[in-house]
């Protein structure tokens, strides 16, 4: 897959050209491409003068980064403690079985990605599911169809 690397200089220009900018640069690349393309990692290593091994290490360590492209719709299931005890696990099971993928995976048509996130800090509305930027509060196990349809 080819990705437009011409956006990289813009991202690089936002931060000092020092190794400590690595995480910030990767976050912006992740935002731009929705994942971290290999070419971008190599360019970043060169630009910041950080060994490629370190770039790979950092990009696999933090939750915020993904080395695989994500789907059009990213379904984030909050798995904070409150969401968990109010049944977020059952909702995860439903979404996974409906889409035929596990959390962390993307459907083969690149439409959906399921992610489990630790806590989005909206515990009073638990369980919470977020699709791209849309929040679904107090989700019931039988509402997953609606969530997938975007209703």
């Amino acid at each position: 897959m080819n990705h437009d690397m011409s956006k990289l200089p813009d991202i690089f220009a936002r931060y000092p050209q020092k190794p400590q900018s690595l995480i910030a640069v990767l976050q912006d690349i992740q935002k731009e491409f929705n994942f971290l393309p290999c070419e971008a990692l190599k360019e970043t290593a060169k630009h910041l003068d950080v060994p490629l091994s370190k770039v790979f290490s950092v990009s696999t360590f933090y939750n915020a980064f993904s080395l695989n492209p994500k789907g059009e719709k990213v379904i984030r299931i909050c798995m904070g403690t409150t969401c968990h005890i109010r049944g977020a696990g059952l909702i995860q099971d439903q979404l996974e079985s409906k889409l035929g993928i596990k959390a962390g995976q993307t459907t083969s048509d690149m439409k959906f990605t399921i992610e489990v996130v630790n806590c989005v800090g909206a515990c009073s509305m638990a369980p919470v599911v977020i699709v791209n930027d849309k929040y679904y509060a107090d989700v019931k196990v039988n509402q997953t169809k609606k969530i997938l349809k975007g209703g």
């Binding site: 290999c38 990692l41 060994p51 490629l52 091994s53 370190k54 770039v55 790979f56 290490s57 696999t60 360590f61």
Partner: protein, 260 residues
Amino acid sequence: MVHLTIDGTRVQAKEGEMLLKVIKQLGIDVPSLCDHDAVEPFGACRLCLVEITKQSWDGWKKYVTSCLYPVEDGLIVNTQAEKVVEARKTLIDLQLARCPGSPEIQQLAADYGITQTSYEPKIDSDNCILCGLCTRICEHMGFAAISTVDRGPDRRIASPLDEPPPDCIGCLACAINCPTNVIPYTEKGNKRTIWDKEFELITCSKCGRKTITRDFARALSKMRDIPEAYFEVCDACHRAETATNMGRIAGWSRREEAAS
């Protein structure tokens, strides 16, 4: 200098020195897998755990990894306390669950009376104990060609993007220093392969033996400001040449002495 007691023996140690070093100097058998003289202590395997206390602590005891604990005056160390040995045994048991196929870990476990792990063994294990010696030594040498990847139980050692590592110079420092020998490499003719990357081995122009890789020679030449041609001859032939030269110089000086 600080004074401390280890397993009943009073010893002296240099300030700032790590406890494990002093313990090893005494010839006491405390296992450790991630410690290495060439690199900074890391504290990953936790096997060098010991019990410490001080007279002034009023019977209170503490458990610390000796590789990362600087010596202190008045420290009373017990390297074989019951709790310590039990913890070591559990840690080895856990390592055995991670690396059920590693002969080195099997042996260590047997030393502690464990023949089979009491935990859930890892399936398709790569038998790497994640001591990090390979990555730390590689970084220490100035290459950082490989690194740890992912985290938690999924943590592993890998080359960048799981491709042949661009910064690797094929020096084998990672493979040679691996305590469980799980970094494979092959040598065939003048080719060496490690981390899926192929290297050319230099053939000594004098004796025809295989020496270091061309990439290693280039890197050394840059780092130490030595002409690359120097590496076309192997160490042994260089030494032989030096010896011959030394002999010649000695001969000259004797002649000069005689002449004066």
